[in-house]
Amino acid sequence: MANSFIGELLHFVAVRYRVTGSGSLRTTLQSLDEVNAQTLPIMTMASTTAKELSILANFRSQRAKVRIETTAIDETFNVSKIVVFTKPTAAGFPM
């Protein structure tokens, strides 16, 4: 997928996880050099789950990474799948 959108401005609309664990999972979308970022709603994890929840986002950037972290001591997570939903919205940034 990374090579499909060379320089295009992408709209990141959701992140879907297959994740188990304990506590809260915080997701952040970050642009290059972390100039822009969006913290997504906190997901409460369980040790077992039959659901792969999608977290909605509204973030535009040419490139972005997903940062995942817990918020308190002794919280753990196990992510086995991440799906990031994006859509190109512009060909790029003109000078």
Partner: protein
């Protein structure tokens, strides 16, 4: 505290360093002025803070009331207000070793850090959160 006084209407200075354990004189609400008259009878006069000529953290001045009839005596001024409470340690200080570094090991599945702390607290170790743990994906997009 004790003061030597000359006669009535004399201006009296009550001085404090302003640093504990000396009292903060700005908090004094009144002064109870005790003295012995010429017949050696004890009297007390309450002087409210409103009658002070000067009141600050380190100084109070007031005049001995005119009706006080006494000869030169050793008098006592009792401060009535917020008084110092607590204690001042005498003798050698106890030196307690601060939280120190140590040798730590990686433990599979452990979800916190265990660090050494002041040995006067608990068992000498405590569990703390791993500082800012996170994972990141690679960049998405071209």
């Amino acid at each position: 505290m004790s003061l030597d006084i000359i006669n009535a209407d004399t201006q009296i200075y009550v001085i404090s360093s302003g640093v504990s354990p000396d009292p903060d004189l700005s908090l004094v609400a009144q002064i109870i002025f005790s003295y012995l008259d010429v017949n050696n009878n004890a009297h007390s006069v309450t002087i409210p803070s409103a009658a002070f000529l000067i009141q600050s953290e380190i100084l109070i001045t007031f005049r001995v009331p005119d009706h006080c009839n006494f000869t030169t005596q050793l008098i006592t001024v009792n401060l009535d207000g917020t008084q110092f409470s607590g204690s001042v340690q005498l003798g050698p200080n106890s030196v307690i070793i601060a939280n120190g570094s140590g040798i730590y090991k990686l433990t599979n599945g452990k979800s916190n850090d265990t660090v050494y702390v002041d040995s006067t607290i608990g068992s000498g170790t405590t569990d703390v959160a791993i500082p800012n743990p996170f994972v990141e994906t690679g960049f998405i997009g071209g």
